[in-house]
């Protein structure tokens, strides 16, 4: 077991074995809400990964000085600071994206993924592993958002628009049901992905 705890192992567990959305099932609220566009997935994924990586690293670095009783307030201060940095940066440099992601960026503060990794992982591990964990969890989270964003945007609007360019458009013959970009579509898509993943796991177990 000791040999397995390498950088690579810590990184890749975020994808399938402990994928924050599909396996740990934390941080679903904002993910389901914003995954109605591929572009949202990209920016939300990057933002959350940024916060996750930096809060993990900082918390792992200062974990020996943090008194046990006040660790949660300190986690929140660290996380909230990075979220505010992302919030301001997005607003300044990608304002159209900020308009769309709106309230969900500040809400990364209370996203369970980040606090769960801080408390459950970074607080008990060294900086290197915490960095790998943050990167892996962030990448796993982003992947799921991208898949869901792609499916929902394609089914719900009939086209994929990325950075103001329409990549492809199947709308004329296909009449897109708007339900996919609304909240029920998020549950439908997520449930289908879960079913696929579980099927894959069952196959593998056999």
């Amino acid at each position: 077991m000791e040999e397995q705890t390498t950088f690579w192992y810590e990184f890749k567990k975020g994808f399938i074995l402990e994928n924050p959305l599909m396996v740990l099932m934390v941080g679903l609220c904002s993910s389901l809400a914003i995954s109605n566009r591929l572009e949202n997935g990209i920016f939300m994924g990057i933002s959350a990964t940024f916060v996750l990586v930096f809060s993990n690293v900082i918390i792992a670095a200062i974990r020996k000085w943090i008194p046990d009783q006040i660790r949660i307030p300190i986690f929140i201060v660290v996380i909230a600071s990075f979220v505010t940095i992302v919030d301001l940066a997005l607003k300044a440099y990608f304002p159209p994206v900020y308009d769309r992601l709106g309230v969900w960026i500040p809400l990364i503060v209370v996203n369970c993924i980040i606090l769960a990794r801080a408390e459950g992982y970074a607080y008990k591990n060294n900086v290197k592993n915490a960095l790998a964990d943050g990167l892996g969890m962030g990448a796993g989270y982003t992947c799921v958002l991208l898949i869901m964003g792609f499916i929902r945007e394609l089914l719900g609007t009939g086209k994929i628009v990325l950075f103001d360019k329409t990549l492809f458009n199947i709308a004329p013959p296909y009449n897109p049901p708007a339900i996919f970009i609304l909240f029920p579509g998020a549950f439908l898509t997520f449930a289908c992905l879960m079913a696929l993943l579980n099927r894959y796991k069952m196959r593998k177990a056999e």
Binding site: I66, P67, Q69, V77, L88, A92, T157
Partner: protein, 180 residues
């Protein structure tokens, strides 16, 4: 006692470092954020009044805006030019604040409506805010009822946004009557 002191100091140090970092980020991004907000507002204002090509042709009237806002809540800014008036109106849409620029010419007719910012649902509420739909308000005057179901058609599945837009145009016309 010693423990309390230690906890307090740790928390203070963390807080201070965080505050410094945030202050730096804020000072770097502040100008950009303000510039963008102004640019968006200017673009929408110019688009709402045909014949006006740049924000420099418009005059911001703070006194008129204050006067109008007293009678018509939601009026935030008033611009004037020789072509007419532009009202920046802020009310609630379905997903949050909805801000429109409504252009009204000297005869009291709506000549253009454009969006400054919105939080409407993509694919439903956002359809109400598309250009050809907003163009339907052109030619309306304060004599029109501007009610969804009477002279304004609601977009299917986006009744609240449709009502909000109609209300904003109505408010702009009311504000026009106040300051005319």
């Amino acid at each position: 006692m010693k423990q309390v002191l230690k906890m307090g100091t740790t928390l203070m140090v963390v807080g201070l470092v965080a505050a410094v970092g945030l202050g730096l980020t804020y000072s770097v991004t502040r100008d950009k954020i303000e510039a963008y907000d102004r640019e968006v507002e200017a673009k929408a204002a110019v688009a709402a009044l045909p014949g006006v090509n740049s924000i420099s042709e418009l005059e911001e009237e703070r006194d008129l805006a204050r006067k109008a806002a007293k009678e018509v809540p939601g009026v935030e800014k008033v611009f004037t030019s020789d072509k007419g008036y532009i009202f920046k109106i802020n009310t609630k849409g379905y997903g949050g604040p909805l801000m429109l620029a409504v252009g009204i010419n000297k005869d009291g007719e709506v000549v253009g409506v454009s969006v400054i910012s919105n939080r409407e649902t993509m694919g439903l509420g956002s359809k109400v805010l598309e250009e050809d739909n907003l163009a339907r308000f052109e030619g309306k005057t304060s004599k029109d009822p501007l009610e969804v179901g009477e002279d304004v058609q609601a977009v299917t599945g986006a009744t609240i946004t449709s009502k909000a837009v109609a209300l904003q145009v109505k408010k702009a016309l009311q504000a026009y009557e106040v300051i005319r």
